[in-house]
Structures are given as C-alpha cells and as structure tokens.
Symmetry: C2
Subunit: 208 residues, 2 copies
C-alpha cells in the first residue's frame, strides 16, 4: 500500500478505515468482525489499523461520533426553519427517506441495537444526546403548536414518540430486512400518508 505521509492523506486513510469498519460491523456484527477483515477491506495490513485506532472499540466509537452530529444538526435545522408544525412535519417527512436510504444511519442503528450490551455507556450517550434530543425537539414543536391553537396535543412527549416511530422503525427495517432489497417499502409514500394522518389526528376539534 502506498504510504500516507501528509496529514491529509492520513485523514483519508482514517476515513477509509471507518468506512470499511462500518461495512464489516454491519455485515457481521461487532463481535464477529475481525480486525484483519477491516484492514483487508481498506487495503491495509492488520498492524496498520493500529496506527490509526487504539482498538476495535475505539473504531466503533469514532464511527458513532462521526454520524451522530451531522444528522442531528440536519434535523434540528429543519425544525427551526419551519414556521409551523405543519411545515416542520412536512420537512421531516420529506427528508426521512433520504436519511434512511442515503446515509449510514440505519446501519449504525442496527449495530448499536445489536451490540448495545457491549457499550452501555455509548448506548446511553446515543440515547440522551441524539434520540432524546430529537424527541424533545418534536415535543417542543407539538407543544408550541398546541399553545398557538394550531393543533390539539394533550401529551406532547408521548405524541412525539408516535410521530417519530414510523421513521425510526423504517430505518431499522431497512437495515435488518432490506439489505438485499427483499422487503422494500415505498418510504416516500409511507411518510406522505403518515404526514396526512398525523395532521388529521392533531387537528383541533373546532378547526377549518
């Protein structure tokens, strides 16, 4: 393998290793993944991997950190840019198919669920810093809409879970069942229907 001397080249190599690691973790699970296979996939020797990461677990941690923040920011941007619950819901439902089909989110989620027992502290961090934040954002959105008379939401926290459930579950479905496109679901249509149903369900009793 050509040597990576510059910092730039090393960053590239690091990224290539992370990509290879996610592929392997997703295909085989954390425990069953061999460091030599990650190395092979990145066209390196096993020893070289240890020039970039301290351990197998450190690779996994880097992987989760790499993915959490950009996607969280994307979702929060959509929520803050929206002027109303209606708009926010539309934005989230429109972006969800992309997040599920085009990002590594579903694959990371699957590995995180499956090997959650190995990294209890990481799973808890993922929950409080990503999932609970997204739920809190949706809950806030619902609460504000309720107070503004835009919607009728007796319990914003639980309602937020109901609103988000189809999206989160679809991501996991994609990772678990659809790796060979054997269990395809029309996500665009699914979330379009979901959006309509949620709007109708949340409509105030005396609305237009």
């Amino acid at each position: 393998m050509l040597r990576a001397r510059s910092d730039e080249a090393k960053d590239e190599r690091r990224q290539a290793l992370l990509t290879a690691a996610l592929d392997e973790f997703f295909e085989k699970g954390f425990a069953a993944t061999r460091m030599s296979d990650i190395a092979k996939r990145a066209h390196l020797s096993k020893g070289a991997v240890y020039l970039y990461f301290d351990s197998k677990e450190a690779m996994f941690r880097a992987l989760v950190e790499n993915l959490a923040s950009p996607n969280l920011e994307l979702i929060e941007r959509i929520a803050t840019n929206a002027g109303s619950l209606r708009e926010a819901l539309a934005g989230v439902c429109r972006i969800a198919p992309m997040l599920i089909r085009q990002t590594d989110l579903p694959r990371i989620m699957k590995v995180l669920v499956g090997d959650s027992h190995m990294f209890p502290q990481m799973v808890q961090a993922y929950r409080t810093e990503l999932i609970e934040r997204v739920l809190a954002m949706m809950s806030g959105l619902l609460k504000r809409a309720h107070d503004a008379g835009e919607a009728e939401v007796p319990n914003p926290d639980l309602t937020a879970r109901i609103v988000m459930a189809p999206m989160v579950l679809s991501a996991l479905w994609e990772a678990v069942f659809n790796s060979r496109h054997e269990a395809d679901v029309d996500l665009d249509q699914l979330f379009q229907i979901h959006e309509r149903m949620m709007l109708k369900a949340l409509e105030p009793r005396s609305a237009t």
Copy 2:
C-alpha cells in the same frame, strides 16, 4: 444437580436451558455468549447442554420458535374476535403493554436484530411468518373497515405499518434502553393516545 430421568423432568430442564440461554444472549449477544455460561446459569455442566441441544445455533432457533407462535396466536385471536376496526385497535392497544413488559418478545427481538447477519434464513422466516402476518392482519382489518365505510384508508398496507410502528418500536426501546428502568415510558398511556390519534386520523370525512 439432580438428574432428569423422566421425559417430564427433561422437558423442564430443556426449558430451563432455554431461559438461561435467552438471559445470556440478551445480556451479551449471541457471539459473545459462552455455552459454559448458559450451562452455569441452568446449574449444569457445559457437556450436559449438548445432551439437549445440538449446537449454540440450535438453542437460538428453539428460542425463537418457542416465542413466535403463542404470541402470534394471541394477536390473531384479538383481531378475529373484534367486530370492528375500533374494537380491534382497542384490543391491540390494550394488550401491547403486556406483551412488551411481561413477555420475552422484546428481548428476543433485540437479539434477532443484533445478530440478524448470523441467521439470515431465520430472520427472513421471522419476517414472513410473524411480522408480515401481523401486518397483513392489520391491513385486512383496515381494508374491511374502509369497504364498510367505518374508516377512510387509501393504502391499507402502508397504514398498517404506521399503526403498528409505535408498538414494535416500543418493544425494541424496552429491550435496548430500559433494561435497568432508566428510560421508562408509560406504555398504557402511550398506546391510549395512539389509539385515539389513529381513530381520528382514519375517521371518514363525513362521519358522526
């Protein structure tokens, strides 16, 4: 350990081994679970486990089979006994907290998701014989309600997914985040809200 001579005693021992195996698989994952630990938990030696099961994988298969059919039957009984979509939905929403809190379903689901790559054929069987059947049941219920004018359901298959999502996801949530009751959710209230939202969302435009 007292020896199991009768068929009855052997069935009991088999069951004890399966219980121990699920505890271990759930706590450590399939790959990281040692047969000797399963044996220890059931107060037996490692060798004895192989008198009851051919292999680690055979134990896991037995575990999934043991759980799938009784729970599937329960859900289908609720659906067939219900006279209307409203009743069926109420039944499903009422039974769901029990299935999530009182059965091994969430723990099995978590292991199945996490180690899905190890048993692709088992995961596919689980999907087609359990999940798709429950979805088909709900879809049929929705379609009949639509035809009877009880509800307005343009796409029963996708709507079924939206109806079931909070329940399936709550089961996984329970298994992944709530093993130490750190992320508790009031499931009774959650599904009560869900039920109300679904009924309102599915209400025909010109309804009472």
